[in-house]
Symmetry: D2
Subunit: 346 residues, 4 copies
Amino acid sequence: MSKVKIGIIGAGRIGKIHAENLLKHPEVEIVGVSDLFAGPELEAWTAARGIDLLTKDANQIIGHPDIDAVFICSSTDTHVPLIKQAAQAGKHIFCEKPVSMSIAETAEAIEAVKQAGVKLQIGFNRRFDHNFKRVREHVEAGTIGDLHIIKITSRDPNPPSKEYIQVSGGLFMDMAIHDFDIARFVSGSEVVEVYAQGGVLVDPVFAECDDIDTAIVTLKFASGALGVIDNSRQAVYGYDQRVEVFGSKGSVAIANDHPNTAVVSTAQGIISDKPLHFFLERYMGAYADESKQFIDSLVLGTPLPVTGEDGLQAERIALAAKLSCKLNRSIKLAELDELILQSAKS
Amino acid sequence: MSKVKIGIIGAGRIGKIHAENLLKHPEVEIVGVSDLFAGPELEAWTAARGIDLLTKDANQIIGHPDIDAVFICSSTDTHVPLIKQAAQAGKHIFCEKPVSMSIAETAEAIEAVKQAGVKLQIGFNRRFDHNFKRVREHVEAGTIGDLHIIKITSRDPNPPSKEYIQVSGGLFMDMAIHDFDIARFVSGSEVVEVYAQGGVLVDPVFAECDDIDTAIVTLKFASGALGVIDNSRQAVYGYDQRVEVFGSKGSVAIANDHPNTAVVSTAQGIISDKPLHFFLERYMGAYADESKQFIDSLVLGTPLPVTGEDGLQAERIALAAKLSCKLNRSIKLAELDELILQSAKS
Amino acid sequence: MSKVKIGIIGAGRIGKIHAENLLKHPEVEIVGVSDLFAGPELEAWTAARGIDLLTKDANQIIGHPDIDAVFICSSTDTHVPLIKQAAQAGKHIFCEKPVSMSIAETAEAIEAVKQAGVKLQIGFNRRFDHNFKRVREHVEAGTIGDLHIIKITSRDPNPPSKEYIQVSGGLFMDMAIHDFDIARFVSGSEVVEVYAQGGVLVDPVFAECDDIDTAIVTLKFASGALGVIDNSRQAVYGYDQRVEVFGSKGSVAIANDHPNTAVVSTAQGIISDKPLHFFLERYMGAYADESKQFIDSLVLGTPLPVTGEDGLQAERIALAAKLSCKLNRSIKLAELDELILQSAKS
Amino acid sequence: MSKVKIGIIGAGRIGKIHAENLLKHPEVEIVGVSDLFAGPELEAWTAARGIDLLTKDANQIIGHPDIDAVFICSSTDTHVPLIKQAAQAGKHIFCEKPVSMSIAETAEAIEAVKQAGVKLQIGFNRRFDHNFKRVREHVEAGTIGDLHIIKITSRDPNPPSKEYIQVSGGLFMDMAIHDFDIARFVSGSEVVEVYAQGGVLVDPVFAECDDIDTAIVTLKFASGALGVIDNSRQAVYGYDQRVEVFGSKGSVAIANDHPNTAVVSTAQGIISDKPLHFFLERYMGAYADESKQFIDSLVLGTPLPVTGEDGLQAERIALAAKLSCKLNRSIKLAELDELILQSAKS
């Protein structure tokens, strides 16, 4: 059996994680890696992994005749052009989130993929996490009955750097977008209305970047269910990733993962260790599983677990949240396109 | 030492709870009870407790020369007139929540109390619960640092009867009002803006009564902190009363109380008993403590733990939530009075 | 209906707890209290509770024509003579644990009670605790199947005073006797063999009193099940009272009770408050329930929940544990009487 | 840098786990595999992993000139002769537990290793588990103070087959040996006395094999601390592996690992999934870490984390437990050699 041949575009932290996970599959070969900042360090890294091709030019990956599929892990502004080119070149595509900051451009990318008949999976890794999956399983199995309330807590341990914040697209597009996807994933229902209230409570640097660091987002789903997400850029006790789905037959709630189960009892109180620090620790298994399912889809023809449409919908909710926060009113997803037009004009 | 002499107005479920708790204090004597539906059952009940006076007429309580203070536990529509009369008669007052459905009338009652120089405590029992108190203690001690997010989950085990719903004042005034008070209590900050999204997901009877059964309320505090409350009239697993306060130094979260700590492990899974069923089970200790602190205030002159002003502020938030839900927009508390005027005109 | 008339013998801490609980029952009247150290303080205490008779002479209680039942809460060495006298006087008896330090004398007391046809309940309060009761319920309901292992952890927060240790009868008779009773209670099976290993690890004062402060006791039950108890006189994090019953269908385990459910998450870790401090806090509800069931047995004829025989069996196990520790070998309960005889001779 | 060259002796379940883990290290090469039952299946398995040499003859591995170290994963009766041969051949050795059923033979193997100057690590995998390690860290850090009680619960989800039981060496040597090692590991103290009480409560097949399926073992440590282990061959709710260490400053306790943190609340109760099923799921990370540390010891010269002496001491405790159970008396480790001699004579 011939191997699936992969090219990696963008070998930063997340690109390397995908590469390491792909290298564990005997049926996968990484043919080449491109990175704008390819240098001695990356040369050593690829060499140690038996990857022969390292280039600064993504076209050498996309245009490579042996490559079946590309992992687009470069900066967000490059996603759409790369998707279009890769689609035209007949390559299957795994693309990191978000596809773009513009839902029009994301829609174009999806259209290009459709025209080319290639596969496109978006990097919403949390769907593959053991805890989030278990929530979805219970919802699908009917354990919870009709859904009434979906609650998501999503807080980072530390704020990113100013440089990162400036190009991040803001809290909703960069961070909460995962939560919007999870809201759709666990509920199996589309979001139809969004209200967001945000603030700068963690660090004034967010205000300087015209961003926020704390938010409460209320969601209304097509099913009638209500949702609420709370976000913070800084939970000093560590990465806080919880979901609760509540309905007519009960609820299912997931708590954080911890590095161990040790509980210490002393004269001062009962103490345990903080949750797993951040996404690398918490979602390591999820990253492995998402790339495995992408490979399975190529090799075995199994359905893609996260599609371009999933990417688009999450972006639409993020944009609605951003607008809601700005206008301080609730935004219906149905009015989003018109609002964007208006916003473009003004 | 002479005893504090109490009259009870309204001897339904909650009136009886207060009476039982008061009877445990050696320094308290219950002089009389009035109830519109006084009959043989209530006669037996008062007789067994050595209470000599039972009447259908609240004036016999308020006008009784021996009585120092009254507990107003009759229906909400009677609260304001009774407070005014009792204040005029120089009686101290413990009044159940809400004071009234009209913030104007509540303000009048508070004014009457002020003029008379008597004491008025409102029945926000949760402030006296061991869990909620512990949250407040941690906030006051600075354990949490500056507050960023206050989250409250408040769900009843069963919806009330249609008869109850019709006169309840609606989910926000009847049920969430406790949560609005707790939001103020644990944060120590005033609410300045409210957005509420509601739905009828539990039972169509709520729609028939022009009410809702499920809600998400976003709060903005004067301190800049954000808050969110989720309410449901039916959690099939039992009374669900949780709070989480999150800030710059960490978080404090309280879980439900359970009837026991037993955990059963079987081939089917790990199972424990549901939370304490409802407010009578969960807040029994809190009810005892709130009446004790009222008595202490009379006897020892300690400050009242919940004032008429606290009652008024919670009602204002409830009203704002009701309007927000109706108008589907966020309501600033500062615009509330004008909105009420407008609403009255239209 | 005439009231049940009670006399209290011994008004120390535990005697007062029983009295307070009895005073809450409208069908009970405390006629009198005797205490060797009756003085001004106790006079004030009885006066405030409307108890007319206070005496240093227990005979005035036992011989009082109006008294139906006595609560024997005096020092252990007085239990047997008082039980015999009370039985002869036709009084029902509630007696604190242990009945005596001598199983021969305890047997005599039981025989006297039997001859007189009065009721005798022993103060094994833990059987009435919400957690322990739930374990028993699960075992009785068959949730656990055939029992294989019964594990009991029982640790005090602080060691008692030297004065107390000297007359306590030792760790097994004074402290672990509750655990021996619980082992019988939750399992519904008799103990047939005991092995105990003990040590002085907390405080040398225990060695000075020829006692131990730490122990592991292995039990073998008539059913074939095995049991293990670990005891310590000092758990610095508070009163530690847990049970786990394991069998063919699974297990049931109870954890400690805590003063609240608050969990604080900070940069230092996840922290909650220590368990309820000691038996007064932890078992307050159990004390109320045990006296209520005794009164119910007198008034309604319901079966006694803890009998003299239960007292005797727990003492036999305690004695076997003491001998096992001393001889460093396992002791069969069947050989206990002979060992006592031998021990008496040598 | 040249690679470390490894030979695997015995490619059953555990041999394959070690091989898979070793293959993840870029600095390791598996030169060959021997297995008495080598056939087509194992040929395919080795071929897929690029392992060229597969043989039925362990001597081809031990005698292979390129091999630096062997993993002995064959049946227990082969361990000692293979260790001796490998030591003589100058190979470093990783050997599964137990080294042998005879402490004399284990001592001989250790002596052979010592004479040859090679390294020998024993497969006590639990020392590498995140939970057990955390307990040891707290003990070493002094969090617990002086140790008073060490409690270990160790229960398998299912009993093994009759064939397995017959050659297993019995519950103490096969199963509890891990717990004896953990007792030494977490306490940092040697066991000086053992009392074991056992029974056949799970399945009569254990009695047919002259074995037990349930046990309580009391340990006395050189430090004066007491220990207790409870074992069962069948916990229907899954693999149960807990430890609690209690001392003068408090306690540290570890609970089981679960496949997810989901908690479902329904009208029937609060339910979560069972613990990770068995050792393969629970200790997968620990297996990876133990082989990594062995390789590190070879490459970097770091100390061996588990030595032959650790293997011997655990076997001595297991043997003492077996004798204690048989003789129904406590056994001092100091008298073990003499008892074995007596036992051999009779």
